[in-house]
Amino acid sequence: MISGLLKYMNEEDIIINLKARNKKNAISVMLNCLVNTKRIGKNDKRLILKVIMQREDMGSTAIGGNIALPHARLDCVKDIVSCIAISREGIDFDSLDEEPVHIIVLLLSNQKEAGLHLKTLAYLAKMLRDKSFVRKLEAAKEKSEVISLIARQSNV
């Protein structure tokens, strides 16, 4: 079931060594990546960032264990789009356990995809609840390594 996730994950939408000052900056850099790979429209970036930050204000999606899952549903997003970023230094993401975030998986879905959006979040959580997997992701040096780690984890 988790393998369905790979459909929404592309090697070019992975940032191996994210440099960001804070949460908003990190999300902005990730959205720039998605603009460059044409997953989202350049003109939609501002709105998407605003909606994600509004969601973060309701409660941080940095749910502990050095992981954050910022997400939003918007009309301007086609199907499901994701971007994965790894930060070696860690980013202050207002996480619930106050630990810095090393793995960020950004998930954007079309407004109509409520069910699929929740299902995908659950799959991501299932994958990331395995701490040894998270440590391996953190150490990945190549984008292709991230994809193969996810593919392997999907078969567990």
């Binding site: 749910i63 502990g64 992981i67 619930l96 069910g115 929740l118 959580a125 299932k126 609840r129």
Partner: protein, 88 residues
């Protein structure tokens, strides 16, 4: 040491996705008892957001709430209330 186990149909309109999962875990962590959730044979720690989120609990899902500890009964009442209430 008390032990409580019961199946519950989740009525929370948003199921247990990110924010409701965080709220559930917040309640669970107020108590000393061990809290576990089971869905389709998958048993997870009810005090970890990522674990609760990973169950993919939507409205209408049947899950088993399992508690063990001195305050298990009290914790059970509160957690069941949260899951059964339609708190949009």
């Amino acid at each position: 040491m008390d032990k409580v186990e019961q199946e519950i149909v989740v009525n929370n309109i948003h199921g247990l996705h990110a924010r409701p999962a965080a709220l559930f875990v917040q309640i669970a962590n107020k108590f000393d008892s061990a809290v576990q959730l089971e869905k389709d044979g998958d048993i997870v720690d009810g005090k970890s957001i990522i674990a609760v989120l990973s169950l993919g609990v939507t409205k209408g899902t049947r899950i088993k709430l399992m508690l063990e500890g001195d305050d298990a009964n009290e914790a059970f009442m509160e957690l069941r209330k949260f899951l059964e209430e339609n708190n949009a």
